[in-house]
């Protein structure tokens, strides 16, 4: 192993650092703007949010520089130690922390409050990278999958127990890393399809097209989606055009019968649509037996499981989710109109952003954020301040910076020679992508309200330090790519 000595300032990925600094500083300005109340309190007043944020930023700078100076090998070497310590800390937090709105996720050290969940992402990423970079590790076989999924799910479960569902969901982002490392894409598609079916069933659960509890729209859409997906599977995996064509003919035939039947007696269309699914399942099994191909039978399992899932989605929705989560989902889906309740946040944040218009109202001139219309405006809803005061132009520029940063991290990930580094880099990219998608998505009203901060931007030390830690460890690891 030859060691070339390259100064860290030369090899470090400056574009990432520059974007990081821009985002942090812009965030600080927005924190000041959103806590500003027409009485010119200074940005450096340390009793105010902006002043505190400045302290967190300086600390974050110290953390970043320290990471660049510390030997990079500790992350790989102590990955499981970090992970284990983190799990213990997360569990301890449940018992040590005060109840803050039902959540037990904050550790208090005098004036400083820390949220260990923010650091758990970092530790889990390291552990995942460590596991997947093991010499004999391949993302194949039930055992390996189980190990990886257990690794991801453990902190997730503890954080759910802390009643911080939002932070827990972030760990789902790590499946994107698995995808990059070989998990079949169809699993991601199935995951998304499951989400889509869930949404349709819930959203249209009380709409009936034929009146009197006949032909539930949610079920109808879901069934049609299942039929289409099944045929796509047949086409993609078996290239069996003939069977798709037969299915189409059968569908048309059954629908004709359905219409004809309804001339005489009213029969729920749902039964006919399910009839189509039954026909396809039987046809698939028949072909599987006749041609001795297991894949047909596997495809046939999909509609069966999917239909079962749809029927249980209602049950899941009613029993698995907490009332405030149900309500948030309903508001997002537009099935619940309540501009003062759960919808209030989203409504006000859309108003604030929308009122910014093209170039915004100008720095410190936003009325919605100043007059406290938007809740949690310095933390989860910080993007509102940006949207209101800097308009479309400002919001798009900041979003573009995030996009640049994420793509840059993917590029960094791809240029790694060590699996550990690459997996870790993808973890950072996936977590950023999740935060970006959910946070901005909820603020602009296209995602449910899940309380997670906007990386580097939102007020708060834990979040800023957590992301700084993740990013600078990545930069440090990246800076070693030529040491070979």
């Amino acid at each position: 192993m030859t060691q070339r000595h390259v100064s860290i300032t030369n090899i470090i990925d400056w574009p990432t650092i520059i974007v990081y600094i821009i985002l942090v500083v812009a965030g600080w300005f927005c924190v000041y703007a959103s806590s500003y109340e027409f009485d010119n309190s200074s940005m450096f007043d340390f009793s105010q949010q902006a002043g505190k944020q400045l302290v967190w930023i300086i600390c974050a700078g110290i953390i970043g520089i320290s990471i660049l100076l510390i030997n990079y090998r500790i992350y790989s070497t102590f990955a499981y130690v970090f992970y284990g310590a983190m799990v213990l800390l997360l569990i301890a937090t449940i018992f040590l922390s005060r109840d803050i709105n039902g959540s037990h996720s904050w550790l208090e050290f005098g004036p400083v409050r820390l949220q260990p969940a923010e650091l758990a992402k970092f530790a889990t990423s390291l552990a995942l990278a460590k596991m997947m970079s093991a010499y004999d590790f391949k993302l194949q076989g039930l055992r390996n999958y189980a190990k990886v999924i257990m690794l991801i799910m453990l902190p997730m479960a503890i954080i759910i127990a802390q009643n911080e569902t939002g932070s827990a969901l972030v760990f789902a982002a790590l499946f994107l890393v698995l995808y990059r490392k070989g998990m079949p894409g169809v699993l991601i598609i199935l995951g998304l399809l499951a989400a889509a079916l869930f949404i349709f069933v819930i959203k249209y659960e009380s709409i009936y097209l034929q009146g009197e509890n006949l032909c539930n729209l949610g079920m109808l859409i879901s069934a049609i989606l299942i039929i289409i997906t099944t045929n796509i599977f047949i086409f993609v995996f078996r290239k069996d055009k003939e069977m798709v064509w037969n299915n189409t003919k059968a569908t048309l035939g059954i629908m004709l019968i359905a219409v004809a039947t309804n001339f005489f007696i009213t029969v729920d269309y749902i039964w006919f649509v399910f009839g189509i699914i039954v026909y396809m399942v039987l046809a698939l099994f028949w072909k599987s037996i006749r041609e001795r191909r297991r894949l047909y039978a596997l495809i046939a399992l999909f509609p069966i499981v999917a239909v079962g899932y749809c029927f249980s989605a209602d049950y899941l929705f009613d029993n698995a989710l907490q009332p405030h989560q149900k309500s948030r989902i309903h508001v997002l889906l537009g099935t619940e109109e309540d501009s003062q309740g759960a919808g209030y946040n989203v409504n006000q944040s859309k108003i604030a952003i929308g009122s910014g218009q093209f170039i915004g109202k100008g720095y410190l001139k936003g009325t919605q954020t100043k007059l406290k219309y938007v809740p949690e405006q310095s933390t989860d809803f910080i993007f509102c301040t940006l949207g209101e005061e800097f308009g479309f132009v400002g919001s798009t520029i900041i979003m573009a910076l995030y996009l640049f940063l994420m793509i840059r991290i993917v590029i960094i990930a791809e240029r790694q020679t060590e699996v550990f580094n690459q997996v870790y880099a993808y973890c950072v990219a996936a977590i950023l992508l999740f935060h970006f998608t959910i946070n901005i998505g909820m603020v602009i009203g296209v995602m449910p309200v899940i309380g997670i901060p906007l990386p580097f931007f939102s007020y708060g030390g834990s979040s800023l330090w957590g992301f700084t830690l993740m990013l600078f460890v990545l930069l440090k690891l990246d800076s070693t790519r030529l040491e070979r």
Partner: protein
């Protein structure tokens, strides 16, 4: 372990691709929110800005002598922004505003059903609280987020008179709002009379102040220190040409009678009095009792809301003979010396138009003095059948143009929103009725004596008296003399010249003077002043004849021209004449001479409302 050359490299493109797709979707949503949808901006403004309307004081109204007639008093509307309302003690609220809980629910329901209702902007919940009720509510307002008080002004009247002329002010209708974006729900506007015609002058211009309000509804001061606020511009004051004492006197005389009195200053066209009877107190249509009173008045069989001077349509009867005498002279049909026979009427062929006993034959002056029907039937026949015209149509059109030049048949252009144009037929009208060759002078003989198809409004009759008084012209009648800091419209000062030359007037005016001195209009005689008048008795299908009287005085430099109509009261000389005469005396002398007190009492006390019309 180092990264192998795996076949999964393409997956980074999928990952980058999904990042870009999410970015694009979010940019599209931002375009939707920030660029395509101005609604969010409005929401934000209605969130953060409490735009408090500042209503200007409505212009005051004075009479021609500078007496204040109409002024403003404060009232308070309870406004509510439903979106901000939280649970509140309804019982307490009802107690403070003096309404029942039931009524409150009804008011809220009604408010929500209004077109243009929005839960984000202030809506009128209860209108016109008195200052006492306001004081009680004001103390509780801090417990009632979402409720606001809006200052308004209501009209107050110094005299219980001239309700029709002044008009009233009421809440704007949906149509008003559609027609003029200036108005918003709950605003007030003139509904009729001067208040409506001069609405834009009187109303001034609304202003507003923009207050900042935080999410809990607390006011945080003025937006940009009030830089964007707009002060309200008060309405302009108006001086009417009405003499309120004369008006009040006219209303007193017309008590218990149905009809109109219109008095005009001939030289200027200024309306001195405009009495519509039966009438009502203008204060009845102010404030919260407006709706109830309006309903009561509207259901009254005597139609007190009808603005009779401008809208009631009557055949002018014998008063019309004066214009005929003038036209026949102008068109060379007669001279004042032309005599026509009349033995208890006009008899020709099978047709008889009756007349009363008087010497025969008569010249024109005496025909006016005695109000001879026969004279004018002969005159009209002579004109219609005159060979100098191509045919009867030609003759009739000539006659019609002359009549119209006295202000008949079309709107006079008076500054009121609701004038009726009356009716003067044209040749086409008769062609349609009788066929082109189916009519001649005899067919339409009743128009000679102001009956038949001829219809005039009281204001037209007064204007007609004015045109005779001026000997050949009239100024558009108008009720507004002066507007603060503004000229009155030129159209109101326009001089309309009649088709009849000045030189023909003297003889006809002689006849009118003779009527007063020793003819049908003797009752109008005053000691010191030469009065010229003409009686009229209009037959009508609705019962007893209408009593009509038209006059001006003095003969030289006339200062007042007047028309009086008393419905279903009989001869013009009996009721309309004395009323006209007393009005003129009151105006010219300022008082009624002691000798005429008895006449005055008789007029004031007479009840001439037909028993069939009295409300049961």
């Amino acid at each position: 372990m180092s990264v192998e050359n795996d076949n999964l490299k393409d997956r980074k493109d999928v990952i980058i691709g999904s990042m870009i797709i999410i970015f694009i979707i979010y940019v599209l949503q931002l375009i939707n929110l920030q660029i395509l949808n101005p609604e969010y901006k409005q929401h934000a403004d209605s969130n953060a800005f409490l735009k408090k309307t500042k209503f200007p004081a409505r212009g005051l109204i004075y009479d021609r002598n500078g007496k204040l007639l109409v002024y403003n008093k404060p009232a308070y509307d309870v406004m509510v922004i439903m979106n901000e309302v939280q649970e509140f003690d309804t019982l307490d609220f009802c107690h403070a505003t003096n309404i029942t809980k039931d009524k409150l629910e009804k008011l809220i329901k009604r408010m929500k059903n209004e077109r243009g209702y929005s839960k984000y902007t202030p809506q009128v919940l209860i209108s016109q609280l008195s200052i006492e009720e306001f004081a009680i509510l004001q103390e509780k307002l801090y417990k009632l987020p979402g409720f606001y008080i809006q200052d308004r002004t209501l009209r107050e009247y110094t005299y219980p008179c001239a309700a029709h002329a002044l008009g009233s002010v009421g809440e704007v209708s949906q149509r008003d709002m559609d027609n003029d974006p200036y108005y918003s729900r709950g605003d007030y506007a003139g509904k009729n009379g001067v208040e409506k015609y001069y609405e834009k002058t009187l109303r001034g211009e609304k202003g507003y102040e923009i207050l900042l309000r935080d999410a809990r509804g607390r006011l945080k001061g003025k937006y940009q220190d009030g830089k964007l606020d707009k002060a309200s511009v008060p309405g302009k004051n108006i001086e009417l040409s009405i003499d309120i004492e004369l008006q009040a006197y006219g209303e007193k005389l017309m008590r218990n009678k149905i009809g109109s009195v219109v008095a005009i200053e001939p030289q200027t066209g200024e309306i001195l009095a405009l009495v519509s009877s039966p009438n009502f107190n203008p204060s009845d249509l102010v404030g919260r009792q407006r709706g109830e009173n309006f309903k009561r008045l509207n259901n009254d069989p005597l139609k007190p809301l009808l603005d009779r001077p401008l809208m009631a349509r009557y055949p002018p009867g014998s008063t019309f003979k004066v214009v005929n005498s003038l036209i026949f002279q102008q068109e060379g049909i007669i001279t004042p010396e032309t005599r026509y026979p009349c033995h208890h009427g006009f008899v020709f062929g099978g047709l008889t138009v009756g007349c009363h006993g008087h010497p025969s034959p008569l010249d024109m002056r005496h025909s006016l003095q005695t109000s001879c029907n026969g004279y004018y039937c002969w005159g009209l026949k002579a004109m219609m059948d005159n060979k100098k015209y191509k045919n009867v149509q030609d003759a009739f059109e000539t006659w019609k143009k002359d009549v119209v030049s006295f202000g008949f048949g079309y709107k006079t252009g008076v500054d009121f929103p609701n004038e009726n144009r009356g009716f003067i037929p044209n040749a086409e009208f008769y062609n349609k009725r009788y066929g082109e060759r189916g009519w001649k002078g005899l067919t339409i003989i009743s128009i000679a004596i102001g009956q038949g198809e001829i219809i005039a409004t009281p204001i037209q009759l007064a204007n007609y008296a004015s045109a005779i008084a001026n000997q050949g012209y009239w100024i558009t009648p108008h009720i507004v003399r002066k507007i603060e800091g503004e000229q009155i419209a030129d159209s109101l000062l326009e001089k309309h010249v009649t088709n009849v030359d000045k030189k023909y007037f003297a003889a006809s005016i002689d006849g009118m003077e003779m009527a007063v001195k020793g003819g049908t209009a003797r009752v109008a005689q005053m000691d010191s002043i030469t009065v010229c008048a003409k009686t009229g008795t209009a037959q009508n299908p609705h019962g007893k004849d209408h009593s009509i009287f038209m006059a001006f005085a003095p003969r030289e430099n006339p200062r007042i021209a007047i028309a009086v109509v008393v419905e279903n009261a009989g001869f013009g000389a009996t009721w309309a004449g004395p009323i006209a005469s007393l009005m003129m005396e009151k105006y010219l002398n300022g008082k009624i001479s002691p000798g005429r007190k008895a006449l005055e009492d008789r007029m004031v006390n007479a009840n001439l409302i037909p028993s069939t019309k009295t409300p049961r």
